[in-house]
């Protein structure tokens, strides 16, 4: 497994309803499958899920489709076989964070949610600050973290933002990142 935590949009999906595309034979022939992937992406509608079978985690593709509003999730079935799931999210395009490893991110009810639990420190902090500075997360967004974001807090204060933990469990923390001064 990749270490990525399964996002909620993948819960209970039926694999028969998904569009599956195995790019491994195409890559073995030395052909770039991007055009064929994008052709299939255009056929998707509503909450369809596209599954790409690849010999590696296709991070550039995930970023490309992320920029078109797709959330993604990668699973390593074996060292040479990855399944990557894509689903179009209903609202705005997701922020692009090209310097960071890929992680699950989606819009839910107009709120950006980022699951940063698979990232090593200090990357979760960097992801939060990059979203704040890009303005793409709006004035309130939600992050899931494994660690208390202890060193993030002074950085938020300097930017006139603050954080509130809304849930704490063995699975980590759900933290709201909110613009403004703490009430």
């Amino acid at each position: 497994m990749t270490g990525e935590i399964t996002p909620q949009w993948l819960a209970g999906f039926d694999i028969d309803d998904c569009v599956r595309f195995d790019v491994r034979p195409i890559l073995e022939m030395g052909v770039d499958p991007l055009e064929q992937i994008l052709a299939r992406e255009e056929l998707l509608s509503g909450q369809d899920i596209l599954i790409i079978e690849a010999p590696f985690d296709p991070v550039p593709l995930r970023r490309l489709l992320g920029g078109r509003g797709y959330a993604s999730h990668a699973v390593s079935l074996s060292p040479k076989h990855w399944q990557v799931f894509f689903q179009k999210q209903s609202t705005a395009a997701l922020p692009e964070l090209p310097d960071l490893p890929a992680f699950p991110m989606q819009w839910r009810n107009g709120i950006l949610e980022m699951d940063l639990r698979s990232l090593e420190p200090p990357n979760p902090m960097i992801a939060v600050l990059k979203v704040i500075e890009s303005g793409e997360g709006g004035e309130r967004f939600m992050v899931r973290l494994m660690r208390d974001p202890i060193y993030l807090h002074p950085e938020l204060v300097e930017r006139n933002w603050y954080a509130e933990i809304s849930e704490e469990s063995d699975q980590g923390l759900r933290v709201q990142i909110i613009k403004g001064n703490k009430p």
């Binding site: 600050l129 208390d148 202890i150 807090h153 204060v157 603050y162 933990i165 001064n181 009430p183």
Partner: protein
């Protein structure tokens, strides 16, 4: 959970401020003492090779006094947050300070006076303190998932710590008993384990998390950190084998690996630096960057020495310059930069402004003190290096004086931070 509780979990993972700050305070006082001792004994350093006396004491004030105190304070505070395993044995952390700090003071004084039983007593107390530190760190990093490169650096540093402690005690005993056939080679092994095995590896390991955190940049690819630690560990092993078996070619292979290991480390740090979100990094990062340059120079100078180019300058001068580059240039400069950045940062986590929000680090103390510290330190480094190369005591004294002024400014800064922290305690 309310916002007020936001930091409660985090604070539960922070040590009481008195624990890290007692080590930082000791480090800064020894930093001041180091420059004072260098000023008083400037004429002796270029001719020193081995034995008790002020120079031996001075080297240990820098390494065990400044560098190790900083490493202990920072490790105890930062590791628990990174590994998510809190140090719950506060009494053991305090016991460490009660044994290590006075034990080291006795050791440094006894080395200065060449007083054997003082060295033995101080050395044993210092060793006990370091073994407690070893226990605390190993207990914390054992079983940690992820952060592989950082953990590998910590493990390698801890193994080196045990080795350097054992050799240190044996070297002290040998001064009276004379059982070692080659005291100089064992002393050199002790130096390599201390400066490169323990302090450099732990400084490099923490860099992979601290530098991105302070510069606000993504962490470097973990593969670079792994390559670096593998090369550096092999380098230390080969150099130790080479010097103890008198096989120069083995040591040379080790030095080549050290060049590669340091190269991977510096490359990953440059990547972090170039990808940073915080554009103005201030005085701490000036010192940190100079520290990196000095690390590269140290390894290159060491390689030249191994290849036999030092005699043109004089072997004793070559050794002294190597020690100056490694201890003052790389480690003291780098860790002073880290201290400058970490002290206000940690203190902000222990203060509470309006609404329970930590205070801004920049509002706590006068940053002009940091500028004086940086100028004094770097001026001291340059003058001492030039003084050693030209073998001119007066230039070394001027450098030590500049360093002393810089260290005084850092002490004032620390006192301001502590005063502020006490006043604004939540």
């Amino acid at each position: 959970m309310s916002g007020a509780n936001f930091l409660s979990g985090a604070k539960g993972r922070l040590l009481p401020p008195s624990i890290p700050f007692r080590f930082f305070m000791a480090a800064v006082i020894f930093y001041l003492l180091f420059w004072a001792a260098l000023f008083s004994n400037a004429g002796e350093i270029t001719s020193y090779i081995i034995g008790g006396g002020p120079v031996l004491s001075m080297i240990h004030i820098a390494t065990l006094g400044v560098l190790t105190m900083t490493v202990i304070g920072a490790s105890l505070q930062l590791l628990s947050v990174a590994t998510r395993k809190a140090f719950t044995d506060f009494w053991l952390c305090r016991l460490l300070s009660w044994i290590y700090i006075p034990g080291f003071m006795l050791l440094a004084f006894a080395m200065f006076e060449s007083w054997y039983f003082g060295m033995l007593g101080g050395g044993i107390a210092t060793a006990i303190g370091l073994v407690i530190f070893f226990y605390l760190i190993v207990n914390n990093i054992r079983g940690v998932q992820g952060m592989t490169a950082i953990m590998q650096h910590c493990w390698a540093a801890m193994v080196s710590l045990l080795g350097l402690v054992a050799l240190g005690i044996m070297l002290i005993m040998d001064m009276e008993q004379g059982f070692m056939s080659d005291h100089l080679t064992i002393a050199l092994s002790h130096l390599i384990l201390a400066v490169f095995g323990f302090m450099s590896l732990i400084a490099m390991g923490f860099s992979y998390i601290l530098v991105p955190m302070f510069a606000l940049a993504p962490a470097p690819p973990e593969n670079l950190g792994r390559l670096s630690i593998i090369c550096n560990m092999l380098a230390i092993i080969l150099i130790l084998v080479g010097i103890n078996s008198y096989l120069d070619w083995v040591s040379l292979v080790g030095v080549a690996l050290a060049l590669a290991g340091v190269g991977f480390y510096l490359y990953s740090m440059i990547r972090v630096y170039n990808a940073r979100m915080r554009k103005r990094l201030g005085m701490p990062f000036l010192l940190i960057r100079v520290g990196w340059i000095m690390l590269a120079l140290t390894i290159i100078w060491g390689a030249l020495g191994m290849a036999g180019y030092w005699p043109r300058l004089g072997l004793e001068t070559g050794h002294t310059l190597f020690a100056v580059l490694a201890i003052i240039g790389w480690l003291l400069t780098f860790l002073t930069g880290i201290l400058q950045r970490i002290m206000p940062f940690l203190s902000s986590m222990h203060t509470s402004g309006s609404g329970g929000i930590p205070m801004l680090a920049s509002s706590m103390a006068d940053v002009r003190l940091l500028i004086i510290n940086a100028i004094g330190h770097l001026g001291g480094l340059v003058a001492v290096s030039v003084g050693v190369i030209l073998d001119m005591t007066m230039i070394i004294e001027i450098g030590a004086g500049a360093g002393f002024i810089g260290a005084s400014a850092l002490l004032c800064y620390l006192l301001n931070i502590i005063r502020h922290m006490i006043r604004n305690a939540p």
